[in-house]
């Protein structure tokens, strides 16, 4: 088993200002995959089977969160491949980049209470029909860290209706809506289910020692298992 899993290569992009890139790589390793460093200036995806866009403040959040990152050389490759089915998980700033890149609809705006917020957040998994959530069960409640200043998910009513109707809302906030996200949306996917954006941080819930739970692991094992099955 390990020989095959080792062959699952998941890239983690480091932009200037990326902060959770090491954490994402650790989570991939814990899930049994091989983490591959990708640099924002790369024009080569190093044969990775999937990509994680980690949290942080790419390019210092200049202009708008994620607005500059979408123009990075590595992103033009990722956008192209994502349209062809490359699995991509964007966490926090990565989610913002996916929205700016129009791989996902809507936008992330400043928290309604205007403060940065870091808390252990309860979520409900709403969809397991994606590349990154298949190891969960629908309705499963999990607790993972949330930390953002601009995490309020917004979209027009039609888009919100469509996301729910098509089962593309992958997780919702429970008990507390920490940032004013419309309809408590914590994460969404594209229609195909290969691209997922998530505001909370599953990569910080992969070790009992450092996280509030181990609930972040299934996001990564979902991808590893799917890729092993595919190869």
């Amino acid at each position: 088993m390990s020989a095959r899993i080792d062959s699952v290569r998941i890239g983690v992009v480091t932009f200037p200002g990326s902060l959770d890139d090491r954490d994402a790589a650790r989570a991939i390793r814990i899930a049994g995959g091989e983490a591959v460093e990708l640099w924002h200036g790369d024009s080569d995806l190093k044969n990775v089977d999937a990509v994680v866009l980690p949290g942080g403040f790419s390019y210092g959040d200049y202009l708008r969160c994620g607005a500059i990152a979408k123009f990075a050389p590595v992103m033009s490759l990722i956008i192209e491949k994502a349209h062809q089915g490359l699995p991509v998980l964007g966490i926090c700033n990565g989610f913002q980049i996916l929205c700016e890149s129009h791989l996902l609809p809507g936008a992330l705006t400043r928290n309604d209470h205007r403060h940065f917020i870091c808390r252990d957040q309860k979520l409900r998994i709403e969809s397991t029909d994606t590349f990154w959530t298949s190891d969960f069960e629908v309705g499963q409640e999990i607790v993972i860290p949330l930390k953002n200043g601009e995490g309020g998910y917004v979209a027009d009513e039609k888009t919100l209706d469509q996301l729910f109707a098509e089962g593309r809302v992958i997780a919702t906030y429970q008990e507390v809506n920490p940032n004013g996200s419309y309809r408590d949306i914590a994460g969404i996917s594209n229609a195909r289910g290969n691209v997922v954006g998530l505001m909370p941080h599953p990569e910080h819930a992969v070790e009992a020692l450092t996280g509030p739970s181990l609930d972040g692991i299934p996001f990564f094992t979902s991808a590893v298992r799917a890729l092993v099955g595919a190869s």
């Binding site: 902060l19 403040f57 450092t210």
Partner: protein, 757 residues
């Protein structure tokens, strides 16, 4: 040599130099200084940079330093470096950014974090975490409302964006800090032994590289006096003297710096903080070959109109200075370019014994660098015991001064009053604005007693850090108050199971020109040095902040003490609270409790400050620490929590709230309930022991002579019998019962109610 200077009046007084200091500069140079030289001496000889009032006292930290092999780099460098074993070294330091944070809370606090982080990277270490000891005026005072939210947002805004977890700190309110908030910031970093770097310009012909942000007109302070007086009045306007931070640039600077250091491309390195290029060039030269030639016009500027004096003094943030051999310069520049960090060779190392600065071909500075960096004035400031000290100490908060609660109802109300008072209330309103998860190595963070960080993912090697100071104790007795601050910090590290190893400090005081303040300072430094010697933990570095006063009124003397401990495997850390599987586990108090309320939180909420602080027994602290570390190592305890502010009752309430499970407690017969619950006697901790370990643990305590008394049991099933079915409760003997919900509501409501309005 700069051309002969005409004998014009120079604005040395406006730059903060005394007439005799100005005379000394003329004596050193054998002529009148140029305006650039004057600017340079004035900032480097300032209290902030030269420690001229504190130096004679700080020497004790070296002279009384305990013998230890753990110290790899001692006081005097950017930060001390401690050996933690397995080839790893750790560097940590705490610094103040008090005055800027009062003027401009957000930027003041943000650049305070930025500055301490650069101190850590300039040693060659990767920064791992930050902590922020903060002190403000009364919580409900209008100015606290102005300053505090900005400071919190600044600490968070910078640290979060930099990707460093904030793992703890302090939040204290006291009227004495109104108008003088204390914003201290601590950073800890780690490195392999071979990666340690020092600030010295070695190797004649080596290049001086300035890299990072461009130099602007921010943070120039007093020097703009000189610029506007010496040059034409239409020159650059006086700029705000608080620096502006850019954490994104700092993040790039960290990554670029670590990459050039690890590639072996750097001979010496120094960050640019207070006094900017003046400080970096003179210190590097003074520590190295003794000479340096600088072409100041090569410095990249944000504002082309800056005068050379302003460039020398600018405290623009996110800049570093490295010494690089000509053979390595291309590789160095390449790495900087990779990280989009601008880098320029601005000078060369020489052995002339002179720091020479040129500006468009003209020599504007020619000075012996040691006289700027290391041979500044030293003052033996007069000091004497304040006339009011005896009266203050005589004013004990006895029962006749403040009526003491006796009935169960009164004792319960006291607990609710304390747990909801701003100093003891939940800090979540603050800490939820800080990222504590980034980097994935945070093992313990607020509200735990200590922050704990894993250093090595393979072996589990880690460090624990706590900062503490009860400044009311220091006001009552500066010598023992400083020891008490040390003892508390040392204890907080120990309860987690880590072995205390080294000390940093941030000494916040009023004006050194006031002999009574100077006495507080002298006594506190003496106490801290004696305490460190007795506990066997050396001071590795720190910072002094004077002039924290409004008019004649100084702040409480506040020597913040940070203790760093090492734990060989973070898996065996002891958390502060029991857990959901602890039902039936036993609660013990370690140490002795006596009638000690001088400077306590209980006295504070009654508006009283007087008497003597609790007595300090460092041998007892050492024993307690050894017991706690042994218990952690042998898996004898589930939880341990320091007893300090508010006493035993507060410690238990904090543990229960954190655990979410109640407990049944009883008050020993031989002590007045009020004293048992609320006294702040030191050298104590609460521990939670599985029944299977009780005998082994108590025998260890008995053999070592540490008092240990069973005072309770964790019990999740007390709700029904105590009239709160379905609830978790604390039952305090026959005295009172409180639900965790009541406690939590009171504990968590205070800060949001004040600061969300």
């Amino acid at each position: 040599m700069p051309s002969a200077q005409p004998d014009l009046e120079q604005p040395f007084a406006e730059l903060g130099l005394k007439p005799d200091e100005y005379e000394r500069i003329k004596e050193i140079l054998g002529r009148r200084p140029t305006s650039s030289e004057l600017a340079m001496y004035s900032v480097m000889w300032s209290e902030h940079c030269s420690y001229k009032s504190s130096k004679v006292h700080l020497r004790q930290f070296g002279e009384k330093a305990p013998k230890t092999d753990a110290l790899l780099v001692g006081i005097g460098e950017n930060a001390g470096v401690v050996d933690i074993g397995q080839g790893w070294a750790v560097t940590f330091k705490v610094e103040s950014h008090n005055h800027p944070s009062y003027v401009e809370p957000y930027q003041g606090a943000a650049t305070g974090v930025g500055g301490i982080v650069r101190d850590i990277i300039s040693m060659g270490a990767r920064p791992l975490a930050i902590m922020d000891p903060l002190r403000f005026g009364a919580a409900n005072a209008p100015d606290t409302h102005r300053v505090l939210p900005g400071v919190i947002a600044g600490v968070g805004g910078y640290g979060n964006c930099l990707g460093l977890p904030n793992i703890g700190g302090e939040l204290v309110f006291d009227e004495s800090y109104a108008g003088n908030p204390l914003v201290n910031a601590l950073c800890v970093g780690s490195m392999r032994h071979e990666d340690i770097h020092l600030a010295s310009a070695k190797g004649v012909g080596n290049l001086v590289v300035l890299y990072g942000a461009r130099t602007g007109g921010d943070g120039i302070g007093g020097v703009s006096v000189l610029a506007s007086e010496t040059f034409d009045a239409d020159g650059p306007a006086k700029r705000p003297s608080v620096q502006v931070g850019d954490p994104f640039m700092e993040k790039l600077l960290i990554e670029a710096t670590l990459e050039v250091l690890h590639a072996g491309l750097v001979e010496g390195i120094q960050d640019l903080g207070g006094a900017g290029i003046s400080c970096a060039t003179s210190e590097l030269a003074s520590n190295g070959e003794g000479g340096m030639h600088v072409w100041l016009d090569r410095v990249p500027l944000r504002d082309a109109s800056l005068s050379p004096e302003e460039i020398l003094m600018s405290e623009s943030q996110e800049r570093m200075c490295a010494i690089v051999t000509p053979g390595h310069i291309d590789a160095f520049m390449e790495i900087c370019a990779k990280w989009d960090v601008e880098a320029v060779v601005i000078g060369e190392v020489t052995d002339t014994g002179k720091l020479v600065v040129q500006w468009h071909g003209e020599e504007i500075v020619n000075v012996p660098p040691r006289t700027v960096a290391h041979e500044g004035p030293v003052y033996e400031r007069p000091y004497h015991r304040p006339s009011w000290q005896d009266a203050l100490q005589a004013n004990e908060p006895t029962a006749s001064v403040i009526p003491r609660p006796e009935s169960g109802e009164q004792l319960k109300e006291t607990l609710l009053q304390l747990i909801g008072s701003p100093n003891l209330a939940s800090k979540t309103w603050v800490t939820s604005q800080y990222d504590r998860y980034v980097l994935g190595n945070t093992v313990l963070a607020q509200p735990e007693d200590t922050g704990m960080i894993r250093i090595d993912e393979e072996t589990g090697l880690g460090v624990a850090i706590a900062t503490d100071c009860n400044a009311r104790f220091t006001k009552l007795d500066p010598y023992n108050g400083a020891k008490l601050a040390l003892a508390e910090s040392y204890r907080n590290v120990s309860v987690s199971g880590a072995i205390p190893l080294a000390v940093t400090n941030c000494l916040n005081f009023g004006s050194p020109e006031d002999p009574e303040v100077m006495w507080q300072f002298a006594e506190a430094t003496r106490g801290l040095a004696d305490g460190c010697l007795e506990l066997g933990v050396p001071v590795t570095g720190g910072n002094v902040s004077f002039y924290n006063q409004t008019g004649e009124t100084a702040i409480l003397p506040t020597p913040v003490v940070g203790v760093l401990g090492v734990i060989d495997d973070v898996e065996r850390r002891t958390p502060m609270a029991w857990n959901k599987d602890s039902d039936g586990e036993l609660i013990y108090v370690l140490g002795d409790t006596s009638d000690e309320f001088g400077g306590s939180e209980w006295a504070h909420i009654h508006g009283h400050l007087g008497g003597m602080p609790p007595k300090v027994d460092l041998q007892r602290e050492k024993l307690l620490s050894e017991i706690l570390v042994a218990a952690s190592r042998d898996g004898m305890i589930t939880a341990a929590h320091d007893i300090s502010d508010g006493g035993f009752a507060i410690a238990i309430a904090e543990m229960a709230m954190r655990a979410g499970t109640g407990a049944r407690l009883w008050i020993p017969d031989n002590i007045e309930p009020f004293i048992f619950l609320y006294a702040e006697s030191t050298g104590r901790a609460v521990v939670v022991i599985p029944r299977s370990e009780e005998l082994r643990f108590t025998e260890m305590c008995a053999a070592r002579g540490l008092p240990a008394e069973r005072v309770g049991v964790v019990d999740s099933g007390l709700g029904v019998d105590s009239g709160f079915p379905g609830e978790q409760v604390i039952v305090m003997g026959d005295y009172f019962t409180l639900t965790l919900e009541q406690l939590r509501e009171t504990h968590e409501a205070t800060l949001p109610a004040i600061f969300n309005s």
